[in-house]
Symmetry: C2
Subunit: 293 residues, 2 copies
C-alpha cells in the first residue's frame, strides 16, 4: 500500500513538470509566460492536484491519466492567488515567502497572467486524450461553476465585503465553502469521475471534500495566529490586521481546534463505505489538519 | 431573404435577454451580479454574438440553438473590456458613454466581475442542451485558446508592451489578430461548427473572419481620429494621446482606407464558394466597414 509521502514524492514533480511544460509550449509574449510561470513555480503544497490523483489512485486507476485536470486545477488556484494579492484586493507583497506577482511584473501583467491561467485551464481539460467528451463536458461544467460567481469568485467578493464586519459562524463558513471549498471539492469530484464511480460514491467523496475543505480553512486561521512567519511565508497575524473574521476569533482557539477535529473525523467517516484500495485520502485529511504551513 | 437590419432587430434582443437571464439566476453576491450586469447592459453592437447566429442562419440553421454560445462570447468580450479599462491597463473612465466598471464598483469588484464573466462563459457552453458533447468540447477548446495567452490575452499584453514603441505594420496586425481577431474568428467558427459545415467550408469562414477582424480594427482606428465623441462613446484621439500605433499613423488616412476596402473585398470573396442561403455575412462585413461608432 502506497504511503502518502511516497505518493507526494512521486507525483508532485510530475504535476509541476506538466504545468511548466504546458506554459513553455504556449505561443505567447515571453513576459506573459514568465509572469504565469513565476507564480506557478513559487511552490505550494499542490494539494488540489494531489487530491485529484490520490482519488484516482485510491480507486485503483492509473492516475497519470488525470494529470491535465490536476495541472488545470493548480492553474486556477494560482490565478486566484495572483488576483487576490492585487493592491485593490488583499494588497499582499509576499506569497510563499516571495514577492507577489504584481510586485515583480506590475499590476497589468499580473491581472493578465491570472486571466491567461484561468482561460488555459479549460483548454487543458478540453484537450485531454485520456477521457471521453462526456467526461470533459462534465468536468468543465462543474469546474466553471465552482470557480465562478457561484463558487470561488463569489466567495472572494463575499470575503472582501465582509472585512471589518462581524460575521456569524454561518456566514464565515459560507465564504470559505465558496472561496476555498469548491475547488477542493472539485478536485475529489474530478478524481471520482475519472475513476468511473457511481453517484452514491460521488456523494460520499463530496462529503469528504466538504469536511477537508473546512478543516483546511480552520487550520489556516489557526496558523495565522500561531504559525511562524518563515514557515507560512506570509506575515503572521495578517488576518487580524485586516480585520477579517476567523475561526479562533469566533470560537476561541480551543473551539477552533475542536471544530478542526470534528471535520477530520467526519472526513474519515465519509470514506468508510467507499471501496478504496489504500489510505491516501485519509492521510491527506491528516496532513491538512496537522500541517505547519 | 432576411435583411441584416431585420435580423439584428430580431436577435439582438434575444441575445441580451439570454445574457441577463443567465446572470439573474446566479446564486452569487448581489453586488457581483450587479457589476457583471452593469457592463453587459452598457450596450454595444453585439457583433460577436450576432456573427454566431448570422453564420448559422446563413447555413439554414435554427440559430436560436446557438444563443448560449452567442451569450458566452459577449460575456468574454465584456470581461476583456472591464479588465482593459482598469487603471493599471488603459485607465479609461468612459466606455460606451458610461462610467467604466471600476469607476462604479471599484477595482476589486471590477476585476472579479471580469473573472466571473470569463468563467461563466465556459459554463454556458458546457450546459447547452442543443449540441453534442463533441461539439461542446471542440468549441471550448477553440475558445479557450483564442481568448487566452495565445489569443486575446496575449494580444492585450503585446498591445500594452507596444505602447510608445514604433510598431511595424506586421507587428500591429499581429496584435490586432490576437486582441480582437481571434474572438471574431471564433464567432464565425462556432456558427459553422453548429451548422455542421465541412473543413473546407470552415477554412473559408475562417478567411472571411480574418478579413472582417482586421477591417474592424482599421475602422476603429479611423473612427478614433475622425469620429464624433458622442457617437463612439469614448474620447476621440485617445489612441494618439496614449501613443498607440494605429493604421492611419502607419499608412496615412488614405492608406488606411485602402486597406479597409481591401479587407472588405477579400472578406466577401471568401464567402463566394459557400452554400449560403442569404447575404447576412456580406452585410455584416459592410456594416463593420461603414459603421459610425
Amino acid at each position: 500500500m502506497i504511503e502518502l509521502q511516497t505518493f507526494i514524492q512521486t507525483y508532485k514533480g510530475q504535476i509541476e513538470r506538466k504545468m511548466y511544460h504546458e506554459i513553455d509550449k504556449l505561443q505567447a509574449p515571453p513576459i506573459l509566460k514568465e509572469a504565469m510561470n513565476y507564480s506557478l513555480r513559487a511552490g505550494g503544497k499542490r494539494i488540489r492536484p494531489l487530491l485529484v490523483l490520490a482519488t484516482m489512485n485510491s480507486f485503483g486507476q492509473d492516475c497519470k491519466k488525470g494529470l491535465a485536470v490536476a495541472a488545470a486545477l493548480e492553474m486556477i488556484h494560482t490565478y486566484s492567488l495572483i488576483h487576490d494579492d492585487l493592491p485593490s484586493m488583499d494588497d499582499d507583497d509576499l506569497r510563499r515567502g516571495k514577492p507577489t506577482n504584481h510586485k515583480v511584473f506590475g499590476e497589468a501583467h499580473a491581472i493578465l497572467a491570472g486571466d491567461a491561467l484561468l482561460t488555459y485551464s479549460f483548454h487543458l481539460i478540453s484537450s485531454m486524450p485520456t477521457i471521453t467528451p462526456e467526461q470533459k463536458v462534465l468536468l468543465i461544467n462543474e469546474l466553471s461553476q465552482g470557480a465562478g460567481a457561484e463558487g470561488m469568485v463569489g466567495g472572494q467578493v463575499a470575503d472582501i465585503d465582509g472585512e471589518g464586519a462581524e460575521l456569524s459562524l454561518q456566514e464565515l463558513e459560507s465564504i470559505h465553502v465558496r472561496k476555498t471549498g469548491r475547488l477542493l471539492q472539485f478536485s475529489v469530484f474530478a478524481g471520482g469521475i475519472m475513476s468511473g464511480v457511481n453517484p452514491q460514491q460521488l456523494d460520499k467523496l463530496n462529503e469528504y471534500a466538504h469536511h477537508i475543505g473546512l478543516a483546511f480553512q480552520i487550520r489556516d486561521d489557526i496558523l495565522d495566529v500561531e504559525g511562524e512567519e518563515d514557515e507560512i511565508g506570509k506575515r503572521v497575524g495578517s488576518d487580524e490586521s485586516k480585520d477579517k473574521s476567523t475561526y479562533p476569533a469566533l470560537l476561541s482557539m480551543e473551539g477552533a481546534r475542536q471544530k478542526l477535529e470534528y471535520h477530520l473525523i467526519s472526513a474519515k467517516k465519509s470514506l468508510e463505505e467507499l471501496p478504496l484500495q489504500n489510505d491516501l485520502l485519509a492521510s491527506i485529511a491528516d496532513l491538512i489538519v496537522k500541517r505547519r504551513s
